[in-house]
Every structure is written in C-alpha cells, then in structure tokens.
C-alpha cells in the first residue's frame, strides 16, 4: 500500500514553520530584546543636559573615524555606593519575606477555594479577582486611610480598648509589607488554585488507604504535587515586588528604600538616565539568577522522563 503523499510542497511547509517560530521570536525581539539593548546602551552613557539627557555612545569625528565611548562609571557607582547596595538588599528582603507571607496566606486560601463546592468556588474566585476592577493606585491609597494614626484601624483598636494611643504603622516597613502582601496575594492564589483543582482526590484516598492521616496525606501527596503552583506563584510575587515602586513610596518610610523607588528618583528627580539604567540592568541580572535556578530545579524534577 502506498503511503499518502504530503499534501503541501516542502517549501510552503518550511515557510509556515518559519512563520510559526518567527512570530514569538519577533515579538520577544521587538518588545524585550530591543528595549533591553536601549537600556543597556543608556547605562553605558554619561548624563548630559540635552535631549535625550545622555551622551551618545558613538560619534563620527571627521574622515570616517568612529569614536565609541563606553562609560562604566554608572556600574561602578552602583557597586560602590552603599546606598544602592542597601536598596538592593532591602528590596530582596522585602520581596522574599512578602513572597513567604503570600505563600503562607495564599496556600490555605487556594486550597479552600479548590476544595469548595462548585458554586461557592465561582463566588470565592470572584472575590479574589474583584479588587482588580479598582485601580491599583486607589487601593494603595485606601491603605493610607486605613493605616494612618487617626485612620480606620487605629480608631477601631482604640474603640475596642485594645490600645490607648494610635500605633504608628503608616510610613514604616510594616506598612510596606501589608501593602505588598495585600496587592500581590491574588498572584499567589490564582496559580496555586489552578494547580490544586487539578489534584486527583483519589490520590488522597489512596494515601489514607495506605495508612496516611490527613496531615500526612497533605505533606506526602498534595504539597509535592502542588510544587509547580508554588514555584509559579512565588515567581509572580517575588519578581515584581523586587522592583516595586508605588507601595514603598506611598506606604513606606525613609528606611524602606527599595530599588524601584531609587530608580524613579534617579530617573525623574535627578534626571540621571544612565545611572537609572545601570540600576535596572543590575536588578535584571539579580532576578535572572533565581529564575534560572528555578528552571534548573524544574528540569531536574521532570528529569525522570525521557
């Protein structure tokens, strides 16, 4: 019996394959690589009173002589000035602790939603997504109203008689954590929920049948199987929080200096685009490291497969 001939000529097939692979690469090139190169280029320039406010990287000086000037001063400054270092460390610390807090709060919530009856599940999910319908900025402003010394929280606590004088929460690191955890919790819950709904309840029954109490079943079956959701949720929280600017700016105090806020200041107040760009590049490099590590880990987890 003759095999059916491929219906399309090879050339068209190759073309369609190129288009299929090409589009995402084109997208990445245009909207990720190109901006990155531009930022990298700015970071190697010097600030100048001009439009745009930095010196060009290369210049034609008479008779076809090309002069390229790479300024590494910005990177050196970022490395030397303890201000930047402490901002980076502070950002990482805030991101790490908030990710952990989001995980501790978000996991039980995602689990409860995933195991709730079908109808209630839709309502609960809605409640998680609902805050997104209001502007992020307005929601952070609302926290000022809640946390300030004559705000809702303090009034309520005084009314309860738990405290005599208002607590100072606003413009402290605590306020930053409250704001960050509140804002990013849905990003932890949603991937975890998506993961946990796929969990086969039969596996927990099998664990129980083999002698596992409910908690042990959770530790040996549910938790390891939801690891992908934990990783996804943690990345979705950790990465943007490192660069977070609005929340520390509005809720934080002088001690809560984060890279995002520093970047903003350098960019808009000091008009030092090259330094701001250098900061952005260093931040990206710092974020790529944990991301690659995570990917390695995931590959190892799936390593048993052919």
């Amino acid at each position: 019996m003759a095999l059916p001939q491929p219906s399309r000529p090879a050339a068209t097939q190759v073309l369609s394959r190129l288009v299929n692979i090409g589009i995402p690469y084109l997208w990445l090139g245009l909207f990720f690589l190109l901006p990155f190169v531009i930022v990298l280029q700015i970071s190697l320039a010097e600030p100048a009173l001009a439009q745009p406010p930095y010196t060009p990287l290369w210049q034609w000086i008479e008779d076809g002589l090309l002069q390229i000037q790479l300024n590494l001063q910005n990177f050196l400054l970022v490395g030397e000035d303890s201000l930047y270092l402490s901002a980076f460390l502070n950002s990482l610390q805030v991101a790490l602790i908030s990710t952990l807090l989001c995980l501790l709060l978000g996991y039980p919530m995602a689990y409860a939603i995933a195991t709730a009856p079908e109808r209630l599940r839709v309502v609960l999910l809605m409640l998680i997504i609902l805050p997104f319908w209001t502007s992020f900025l307005i929601r952070v402003y609302a926290w000022i109203g809640i946390l300030k010394s004559n705000g809702l929280l303090n009034d309520f606590l005084i009314w309860l008689g738990l405290i005599d004088s208002p607590l100072t929460i606003l413009h402290t690191q605590t306020a930053v954590y409250i704001g960050v955890v509140y804002s990013y919790l849905p990003f932890m819950i949603l991937p975890l929920y998506a993961n946990l709904t796929r969990l086969d309840h039969g596996l927990l029954e099998a664990a129980a049948d083999l002698g596992c109490r409910p908690f042990c079943g959770f530790m040996r079956v549910t938790l390891p199987l939801s690891m992908a959701g934990i990783v996804a949720g943690s990345m979705l929280v950790f990465i943007p929080v490192v660069g977070e600017f609005v929340i520390p700016d509005l809720l934080g105090g002088p001690q809560s200096l984060m890279v995002g806020k520093l970047l903003w200041t350098e960019f808009f107040s000091n008009k030092d685009w090259p330094l701001a760009s250098a900061l952005a590049i260093v931040m990206l490099a710092l974020l790529v490291i944990p991301f690659v590590m995570m990917q390695r880990w995931q590959q190892r987890m799936e390593g048993g497969r052919p």
Binding site: L203, A206, G211, R305
Partner: protein
Amino acid sequence: MPTLAENQRLEPWQDPRAAPYLRVDRVTKKFGDVYAVDDVSLDIFKGEFFSLLGSSGCGKSTLLRILAGLEYPSAGRIYIDGVDVTDVPAYSRPVNMMFQSYALFPHMSVEQNVEFGLKQDRLPRSERVERVGEMLDLLKITELRKRRPDQLSGGQRQRVALARSLAKHPKLLLLDEPLGALDKRLRENTQFELVNLQERLGITFVTVTHDQEEAMTMSTRIAVMDAGQIMQVDTPTAIYEFPTCRFVAEFIGSVNLFEGKVVAAEGDEVLVETRVGRPMRMRSFHPLVLGTPVTIAVRPEKMRLSQEDREDGVNQLQGVVEDIAYLGDVSIYRVRIGDGSLVEMTLTNVQPRTEQALTWEQEVVIEWSPTSGVVLTE
C-alpha cells in the same frame, strides 16, 4: 470425590461452624434521601475471592468504599476478623484497596509507590527494601522500579497498583473494577493471574465488577446487587443455574421467562399453566401451593430441537425461526412462538454451518427437561 472436611475447607460458607472473616451486618448508606446501600448483610470467609456484581449505580462501589473506611455507613456494623471496625478510619484499617483509576502517585517512582504504605508503618529501611523487592518480583515488574507512572502502560500500572495494595499484607484486599481499564486480551490473561495470586497469598479478596464473565471466572462466590440491595449470594454455578429471583436470572446470561401459575404438584415437580398456552413441568426446590403465580426460567442453551410434537405438549413450544445469529461455535436462534413472543435457543454448531438443518422461516418444535430450568416465585 472430596471428603466432607475438604469440601468445608474449600467452601467454608457451607460449614455452619465456620466464623466469617468479614462480616457486614445490616449496613445502610444514605446520600441525602437516596439509599446507596440498603440494609446489606454479608458473611465473607477467609481466603475467599468474593465479587460484588451489579450494574453501575447499584451500590457495589459504595459498599466497597465502606469496607475500606473511605465512607462511613449510616447504619449497621462491619467486623473484620471478629473486630468491629465500623468507626475505624481508613488509615488504621487492616485493609487495602486497589482503586479503579489505580490512583498511583504521579510524583513517585514505581518503587516509591509500592513503598509508600510501608513507610507509613515505620518499618526499618532494610525490611522495606526487602518487601518492595518481593512485591515487584511477585508481579514481575522489577525492571520498571525506577519508572514513573506516566511512563507505564495500562497493564503495567495495574500491576503497580496491585503491588502497592498488597505490600502491607492486608487482611482484606478490596479491588474496584480491577480489570476495568484493560483491553480484552489482557483482561482474560490477568483474570487467571489474579486468581493464582490470591490463592498463593491466601489473602481474602473482595472485588467489585459489572462484568459478569469476570465475576464468574474469578470468584468463589458472587453477590448480585441491585438498587443498593443484595439479590442473591452464591457460587458462580449456582448463580447461573439456580437463580432465586427474576432479576438475577435476567442479569446473568440470557434467559427465557414464562409466567404462569401452579396447577398441580407431584413430588418435587410442579405443573404450571403458562400464558403461552402450553403446560410446563418443572422441578421446584420448594413445595408450592396450588395457584401460586410463578415464572419459569429456562436458559437458551438448555433448549433443544424436538423430533415430535407430543400430544400433551408439556415443556414443548412450537414456532417459526425468525432470527439466526451465527457466532462460530454456537448459533443463537430466535423462535417466534404461538402467542407472538420470541424464545431464544442456543445450539452448538456440531456440523459446519452450510450443512445445518435450521434455516429462516422454518417451523420447529423446541423442548427442554424439567430439571433444566428453575421456578421463580415473585
């Protein structure tokens, strides 16, 4: 001939002194207003291969889950080896289950899956390794030990699931549709393997199945269930040959049913006047009062062709061949009889098909003997 003692060892349910190993005592399970299991009592003996047979939704799986401790009965008690385990949760019952979907842990290798329950028992490592090796060996899956469930075929997964549920040496192994997910060929081979395994280990098996052939091949006894109730509990032979109610007669295999009422009784035989017009004489295991409405059940293969149409016409039916289904070894004939109903008859194809006597539209007389059917009273 086996002696009486041997018989009682092989068929402990015949021995009035034998203590049941698993005792289900008037168990009821309600989901809302629905009775999934309705006042079921069962005695299952040590070393039995017991099957719960019924169509989907008859409550057989719920009953199995109650035995596993995954559901708690609304009423009634469960005893295993004389101990009341009704309120014992699944994780402390000396019972293991092989799930219909196998429920293998996808993040663990074959080895780790089998070891799971042993770790729970806090057995020392050396003993665990030994036991896992034993189980993998028993089910001939040693070379798969490092694989993950998604790298296994359906048949291999079934073996891993079986190994995992046997690893803890349970007093009772529950199997939910153990062969349900396998293709026909594999199923037939596995049936015999499962029986051999059970006989070798001496563990009491309780399985749930909707496949009557599977139940007939493997079981020491079968409980036929319908609507949460047990219709009959007996050996495969007895279930087939001597059903005690219409449901069981119709559920297992094919059967011809004739309704009528008792007009004469003589020794262990009764004469029944039927709606099809002909009187029938059948053996009855219970004495029946005259006038009792009864149903006579005769299996198609117990029917045979008659050379003469006797005058009294007892146990004889006259009709016309309407359908013939040729199955190779046997042929099924559907014969339209006097009152317009169809009677099914199976004949072995002793001669090649082309030389067969029976053909469509042919007038035939069918008959059967008084001992080749049963009289049902309900």
